[in-house]
Symmetry: C2
Subunit: 137 residues, 2 copies
DNA sequence: ATACGTGCAAACGTTTTGCACATAC
DNA sequence: GTATGTGCAAAACGTTTGCACGTAT
């Protein structure tokens, strides 16, 4: 069994993620943590992000984007992805886990869970659509 | 506006996808289409897969896996991913689009749609769990 | 003292792209 | 004839890994 030792870098990565409500990519984490640890390497960031994910301390979000994103809040919640600006936001909405029961009814294996992403236009981007004349969209 | 010209390679890619109910990766498409066009390049496969996706002729499935998968059936349906063998299967289950309405109620932007993936054990893998003694799992 | 973490750089797997040639129209 | 498609190879991209050194315990 592998023992977990403290590291300032790991703490700093986790701390940074906790300050953010958007969902930074590994690169963004790297650029920010570098302000505190100028010599930290991208490899270390990846290693720690994946370690933190595996111990359930953070959550990895795979949203069909080219790269993974990370979220310090690990309680189950839903994400929205804006098709225009690409931002990823938390949704504040009721639990949907009953769809797993629904799925199970017509499925022969074993449903353990599900992931749902919503997409569309975020508040800011949908405002722009309303404000601008069609020609400028 | 870019004009779309016929190509035998593209047709062959689409045809191959239509014969498959699992959801091949670009690599798998490449290996199979190569039986008909031994000189086809992986680049051509990627170019055509992304072109077919953009005209809505096929569907791209991003399931947090390392690579994208492609599906010739473009009507909205749900996918299941086995956490053990990694297979991706279609779900035969009722429409869930009402969750978009549900999401919209507590959201400030504009919900255009959603993607849901179910995960767990497929029929085959869940059978193995039942058959084998715990020590062999 | 020793196991675990780090920085660095090289390697990896997937996908994209620049180019000259081939093909559809 | 011309715009679009292709094959090839190189590059880009995000991510992982091997190694020697550093640090926590």
């Amino acid at each position: 069994m592998k023992e977990l030792k403290y590291s300032r870098q790991r703490e700093s990565i986790k701390d940074f993620l906790m300050t953010r409500k958007d969902h930074p990519t590994a690169e963004e984490v790297y650029l920010n943590v570098r302000k505190t640890f100028p010599n930290i390497s991208l490899g270390t960031v990846y290693r720690n992000l994946s370690l933190l994910t595996s111990i359930g301390s953070i959550q990895k979000i795979s949203c069909g984007d080219s790269c993974e994103r990370f979220d310090a809040s690990t309680d189950s919640h839903y994400h929205f992805i804006c098709r225009k600006c690409g931002c990823v936001m938390d949704m504040d909405m009721p639990d949907l886990s009953f769809i797993n029961t629904l799925a199970d009814k017509s499925f022969c294996g074993e449903i353990e869970g599900s992931v749902t992403y919503f997409f569309g236009l975020c508040e800011k981007c949908s405002q722009e659509y309303v404000d601008k004349p069609e020609s400028k969209r």
